[in-house]
C-alpha cells in the first residue's frame, strides 16, 4: 500500500487541482485526474521523504480562519501606513525562536508570516532555530514575536508535528 500509493494526501490534492485546472467535473476528467494523482506522487516519491499527516483538522480550520482574518486586517493596516507616509514607520528586524522542526512546518510558518501583511520572513538561521522577520512598523517587537508564536506557530506545530517528533 505504502509503495503503491506513497502520499494519499498529495494524490487527493492533485486530483482536486486537476479538476480546478480544467474547470469542469466529468467522469473522464476525474479518471484522468486520478491517473495523474497516482502517477505524479509515485514518480516523485524520492522528493517527499516525510509522510505528511494532519493531526487536528479542527485546529487547522481555525488556523486558516485566523489567517484569513489577519490578511484582511493587516492589509488595511499596511495600506493606512503607506498612505500616512514613510516618515512615521518604525521598521524592525525581530528574531523569532522556533519550536517547529520539520521542513514542512517551518516553510508553512515562514509563508504565513510573509503573507500576513506587515511582516516578511527574511532569513532562517543556519541551525534552523531562529527565523528573522522584518516588520514594517512595530513599537513592541517582543509582543510581535509572542503573537507570531502563539497565533501561527502553536497551531502549525500541533497539526503537523505532534507525535512525529
Amino acid at each position: 500500500m505504502r509503495r503503491l500509493l506513497p502520499h494519499p494526501l498529495l494524490s487527493v490534492s492533485l486530483i482536486v487541482l486537476w479538476l480546478l485546472l480544467v474547470n469542469e467535473l466529468s467522469t473522464g476528467h476525474l479518471a484522468l485526474g486520478a491517473l495523474l494523482g497516482w502517477l505524479i506522487p509515485f514518480a516523485t516519491s524520492r522528493f517527499w521523504p516525510e509522510q505528511i499527516r494532519i493531526r487536528h483538522p479542527g485546529v487547522l480550520a481555525r488556523f486558516l480562519g485566523v489567517f484569513a482574518v489577519d490578511i484582511v486586517r493587516g492589509s488595511f493596516h499596511v495600506a493606512w501606513l503607506i498612505l500616512k507616509g514613510p516618515a512615521h514607520l518604525r521598521p524592525v528586524f525581530v528574531e523569532v525562536p522556533l519550536d517547529v522542526e520539520t521542513d514542512l512546518a517551518i516553510s508553512l510558518l515562514a509563508n504565513t508570516i510573509s503573507l500576513t501583511p506587515g511582516t516578511v520572513s527574511a532569513l532562517l538561521s543556519g541551525d534552523r532555530r531562529t527565523l528573522i522577520v522584518h516588520t514594517i512598523d512595530s513599537d513592541d517587537p517582543a509582543a510581535l514575536v509572542a503573537e507570531i508564536k502563539q497565533r501561527y506557530e502553536a497551531p502549525l506545530k500541533q497539526v503537523f508535528e505532534e507525535g512525529n517528533t
Binding site: 492589509s75 499596511v78 503607506i82 510573509s114 516578511v120 514594517i136
Partner: protein, 112 residues
Amino acid sequence: MTDTLLALLILTGAMFTFIGSLGLARLRDFYTRLHGPTKATTLGVGCLLIASALFFSLRDDGASLHEVLVTLFLFITAPVSAHLLAKAALHLKVRSLAPTPRAGDAQTTDRG
C-alpha cells in the same frame, strides 16, 4: 444588486493593488518596499479573483473555480519570492532603516 457587489469588489481590489504599488514608490528602503507588493497580491488580487469567480459563475451556469487556483499559486509563490529577495538583500547588506540582525546570522545561512 450583484453588479454593485462586483463593482465594489473590483474597486476594493484595484485600490489595494494601487496602494501596494504606491508603497513601492514611496517607502524609503528596500525592506519596507518589499511589504507593498506582497500585500497587494494578497488582499487586492484576492478581491479581484472573488469578483471574477462570482461573475463567471453567475453568467454561465456552473461554478467557475479557476480563480481558486490562481489564489493558491499566488499564496505559494509570493512569500517565497519575498523571502528570497529579503534574504539576498541581507547577504548584500542593502541599506536598511531598521538595524540589521547580527552579521554572523547572515553568514551561517549559506548552508540553510
